[in-house]
Symmetry: C2
Amino acid sequence: MKRRKDVAQIKKDIAWNTKELFAQKGYAATSMEEICTVNNRSKGSIYYHFKSKEELFMYLIKLSYEEWIASWHAKEEQYTTSIEKLYGLADHYVDDMENPLHNAINEFVSGQSISAEMMEEMLAIIRIPYTTCKNIIIQGMEQRELKKQNPDDLMYIINSLLNGLSTLYYELEFTEIRRLYRAGIATILSGIQNTYEKN
Amino acid sequence: MKRRKDVAQIKKDIAWNTKELFAQKGYAATSMEEICTVNNRSKGSIYYHFKSKEELFMYLIKLSYEEWIASWHAKEEQYTTSIEKLYGLADHYVDDMENPLHNAINEFVSGQSISAEMMEEMLAIIRIPYTTCKNIIIQGMEQRELKKQNPDDLMYIINSLLNGLSTLYYELEFTEIRRLYRAGIATILSGIQNTYEKN
DNA sequence: TAAAAAACTGACCGTTCAGTCTAATGGTAT
DNA sequence: ATACCATTAGACTGAACGGTCAGTTTTTTA
């Protein structure tokens, strides 16, 4: 009863092969023909495994975020303090930056033809990194490494910073970008305001 | 010798009418037919004023950023300290957030069919807010309001934070978002790390 | 007021797209 | 060997796309 090939694995392969395309060109501008090309597969084959472009995209998004959170949990164990974890999280964002599906997702959900439940599903996926960040923050406050304040606010702020830095992809070298991510965390930790009076 | 209508004004009208469309649906997913609809104009009329969809888009981007920097310069005068200006800049980002062309721009430049000089032009436009931010930072350091450090680093960090926060558009209320922008600046100013030893 | 120029229209064109259909392929069980 | 069926290939479809153009209407010119 065993199949020639593991169908689930084929679906994953197709999705991963397609990630770079969606990440670089966006959802609408990526054609099914191009998807066929990068997969060395025919249209019939792709449509045998996915009933639509939309479904393939959603599948890829889910897969990517599952991968993201899984590899973070693996990394997280090697850090102890929450401050180390914040720097580690910054690194994790950098490692993931080469294929930023973020823009494609925004384009996808902004397009009119999206059902309510799909929207809900997408929002739930997007919230994963927020939760990850929030947990670190809460730990940091419990351990008194961080000042006590609204954890949700801080979660949004740190996540926005790390997301926003990804736009430097086209402007700076990779090592420079990594340095800036860490500098961003350092800045948020220690602040930039001069505590001495002027003069 | 005066024309019935000012051609330059018509071009601007068309561009502004189209802004929301590009902002919400992205570049590729916005069709010329839709652009005609929101302008109450025929295809021929649009193409009479713009030689291509691409040109219309570039024109809109330029216009938007000119508007952005102009209205900022008007606001800036009412602030004195650089810290006030940073909060003011955050507000300015919020005011501009309803039609974020940012994603459309990313999609546009990532699409393959873009000439080198157009790419250069686009990058120059995108750099406008960076420069704006940098000037505030330099002033802040000169006035000793801010700690001395690499101004470029800080410019990238603050800009990334303000850009990144815009993705909260779909998740939070407008007043909540405005509060978070200010909280973001406050956080960067004073830092989050506890300066007391733990225990 | 007649002629020229500017502004505009919408049918039309070639191309590209997501998705469909059917025939071919090849592994597996009997 | 044969029958079966999961899988694949790629020609095909209809809709939608960006862009063009011959021709009409409106305004300016002189």
